[in-house]
């Protein structure tokens, strides 16, 4: 076991994947000498060479499209998108090519591409640097979408993503890059699945589902609720497409109450998918309609207002109160 920050854990996972497979190459803007704007690829170009850690021209569609060609040639490209809000120029290549080539070619051509995306807010950045675009990709068949919430998962899941024969979007909660945790660097990534959700706090009254940057917030909320006599079970989804609904369903069958929280905008988001799917699966076990505590349906706001947009401990607890029928911010509102 070693103590690593979230960011260093990704770096260690990338290094191990590159050690294990010479076909693993990294592509992105500023990832070479600089080590990426968040230093996630720090030192990798020096150790593996410029032919395996490619600083690319500043063109996201170009990066993604050439990664497709590399994959055709038998490589396993790991692409870094510098910031969440910069992924859209690559959207066409991701949705029309990366996601569909395996289907289009009836399995003849695999697209084992990992797309690393620092995402989410809370770092006081200007526009385009704090977005949560995951639902665009969870809605796209052919892609797998995951988001680790802690250094151990970051380390393991990046290796699992790279070894997946399907394309994987790996959403990194950038505001947690500096969080430290214990990482077992000898652990075998093949021994676990990146698609299994994890019950991070056990509880019996309310199921609180989240992922990525809000997992620590949700855990804090569970502690606070416990002080108030409410037992909250926190589930870290880890995988956003597909979602491990079995784990969520088992929890909701126990608690009868579901709160979902994410930074991304509410309408058409993952919370809606989770609420609908769980309602379909165990309607008669629900004591209250599922409640979503999410970012608003707004462009990501300027930084002085971002903490109004981002769900925090108190807003999550307000959602918990709602599913429990306790006094809450919407009490008396009949809609």
């Amino acid at each position: 076991m070693s103590t690593l920050t979230f960011g260093r854990a990704i770096n260690a996972g990338l290094r191990r994947a590159m050690d294990n497979d010479p076909k693993v190459i990294l592509m992105g803007e500023d990832i070479g000498k600089l080590g990426g704007v968040f230093r996630i690829t720090d030192g990798l170009q020096k150790d593996f060479g410029a032919h395996r850690v490619l600083d690319t021209p500043l063109a996201e569609a170009g990066i993604m499209g050439t990664a497709v060609g590399m994959a055709y040639r038998g490589y396993r490209p790991v692409v870094e998108i510098q910031f969440d809000g910069f992924i859209y120029p690559a959207f066409d290549q991701i949705v029309c090519q990366v996601a569909k080539i395996h289907y289009r070619t009836q399995g003849a051509v695999k697209m084992p591409i990992t797309i690393r995306v620092p995402f989410g807010g809370g770092i006081g950045s200007p526009e385009h640097h704090s977005e949560s675009p995951e639902a665009y990709f969870t809605h796209t068949s052919g892609l797998r979408v995951i988001s680790p919430s802690n250094p151990q998962d970051a380390y393991t899941m990046i290796q699992q993503a790279i070894s997946s024969d399907d394309p994987v979007l790996y959403f990194e909660p950038k505001r947690r890059y500096h969080v430290k945790g214990e990482v077992d660097e000898g652990s075998d990534p093949a021994a676990s699945s990146m698609e299994k959700a994890c019950v991070v706090t056990e509880g019996s009254d309310v199921t609180l589902v989240t992922y990525g940057p809000l997992v620590p917030t949700a855990r804090d909320a569970a502690v606070a609720a416990g002080d108030d006599g409410v037992s909250v079970e926190v589930i870290d989804l880890r995988s956003l497409a597909p979602i491990d609904f079995e784990t969520v369903e088992a929890s909701v069958r126990k608690t009868g109450r579901l709160v979902i929280t994410h930074e991304a905008a509410q309408s058409g988001g993952l919370g809606a998918e989770i609420a609908a799917s769980i309602t379909e699966r165990c309607f008669y076990h629900l004591e209250h309609a599922p409640v979503r505590v999410t970012g608003f349906d707004i462009p990501y706001p300027y930084s002085k207002l971002e903490f109004h947009h981002l769900p925090d401990l108190d807003r999550i607890l307000d959602g918990v109160d709602r599913v429990l029928g306790r006094p809450n911010s919407l009490s008396g509102l009949e809609r």
């Binding site: 040639r73 038998g74 399907d166």
Partner: protein, 379 residues
């Protein structure tokens, strides 16, 4: 807004502007070219006859597929009529281990790669999203998103470089595609990494209804040097010239010289697809002008002038084209129907819990009809 008329764009139907590489004129006269003659010195009479046969066969494939579409056997077909020389000349220059990334109109290139004829039709009959295993003929399946494949070729070429191999990636696209960001980004990447890739642009003068003058106010080949990529304009209806310039580009790429941009100036004599009606947007005179430069007719005239176009040869070519057309038609009509559960196949390479559940539910739904049919019968 006034758009420049295509006649005023070099490469329009007014004839070859300076710098257009041409080895056989529209009248079939072989014109010497000290720079390009050595590249085709090995192309003797028999080889020219072979190129002619190829062009006749792919034109026949085109005609047969168009007929199949008119007869309701294909949903759609994108004819390449008029572009045979550009595709056969370049396609026959390639080595087996080179890799092609094309659009949807390069059926003649696929023919050169040795595609199973039936596979060409699968997409257009609606039986598959693509026809062939790309690794079987080293050619990606047709790309529908305009220009997207140029980036794939460039990335593939970057992979070739990493492997220390001397294969070349070749990407085909049209004049319309040159307006796409992907094509421009591909040229940036290709130049930066000196990737062994050939950008083979068939300027067929039309992007559905939009004339090339809407895409470019300078010859398209003039753009590439701005990216640091050498370029050449070639008479795209001259199969020998297309072979020569492609060989030149391949040699450059194999020897570490990086990318080349080829603009093959040709003409889409048919519609964009069988769903299109060019009489709504283009002048019949323009088609006539280009018919006079037909790639088959000029090689026919050239072969004839050399005594290589006798009855035995033309009969053999006709027999080959007939046989190919019959094989194509039979392959089309005999194509097995996909099974309902195929709709879920190959979305992922390993099981996916969301999709598995949907498939399971849909299969239960389908089997519910079987149940009700049998219970109806017994009640």
């Amino acid at each position: 807004m006034a758009l420049k008329n295509i006649e005023s764009v070099p490469g329009g139907p007014d004839g070859p502007p300076p710098g257009l590489i041409q080895l056989i004129t529209a009248d079939g006269i072989r014109v010497p070219d000290p720079a390009y003659d050595p590249l085709v010195a090995d192309v003797d009479g028999a080889a020219l006859q072979g190129l002619y046969e190829d062009m006749v066969v792919v034109r026949r494939i085109d005609a047969e597929a168009t007929a199949l579409q008119r007869q309701g056997e294909l949903a759609l077909w994108p004819p390449l009529l008029g572009q045979e020389a550009a595709q056969i000349g370049s396609g026959r220059a390639l080595r087996r281990d080179d890799f092609v990334f094309s659009s949807y109109r390069e059926n003649a290139v696929a023919y050169c790669r040795g595609v199973d004829l039936t596979d060409i039709l699968r997409v257009w009959r609606g039986n598959a999203s693509s026809g062939w295993d790309p690794y079987a003929i080293n050619m990606a399946t047709p790309q529908v998103i305009i220009g997207a494949q140029t980036l794939h070729a460039t990335g593939y070429a970057m992979g070739i470089l990493n492997d220390g191999d001397d294969a070349v990636a070749v990407t085909y696209f049209g004049d319309g595609a040159t307006s796409q960001g992907d094509v421009n980004e591909a040229m940036v990447f290709a130049a930066s990494f000196q990737a062994p890739v050939i950008f083979f642009c068939q300027n067929n003068h039309w992007a559905i209804s939009e004339p090339v003058g809407l895409q470019a106010h300078v010859p398209i080949a003039n753009r590439a040097p701005g990216f640091g990529i050498p370029s050449v304009r070639v008479d795209g209806n001259d199969v020998l010239a297309c072979l020569a310039v492609t060989r030149q580009a391949l040699a450059r790429a194999r020897s570490g010289g990086g990318p080349t941009f080829i603009e093959a100036v040709t003409y889409r004599m048919g519609p964009h697809t069988t769903a299109d009606d060019p009489t709504r947007y283009r002048d019949a005179n323009e088609l006539e002008d280009w018919a006079a430069k037909d790639p088959l007719k000029r090689l026919e005239a050239h072969l004839d002038s050399r005594g290589l176009f006798d009855e035995a040869f033309t009969a053999a070519v006709k027999a080959k084209a007939d046989a190919v057309a019959a094989e194509l038609r039979a392959g089309c009509l005999d194509m097995p129907e996909p099974a309902p559960s195929d709709v879920f196949k190959h979305v992922y390479s390993t099981p996916n819990s969301w999709l598995d559940r949907q498939q399971d539910h849909y299969e239960r739904y389908l089997s519910s009809f079987a149940d009700s049919a049998s219970s109806d019968g017994s009640s």
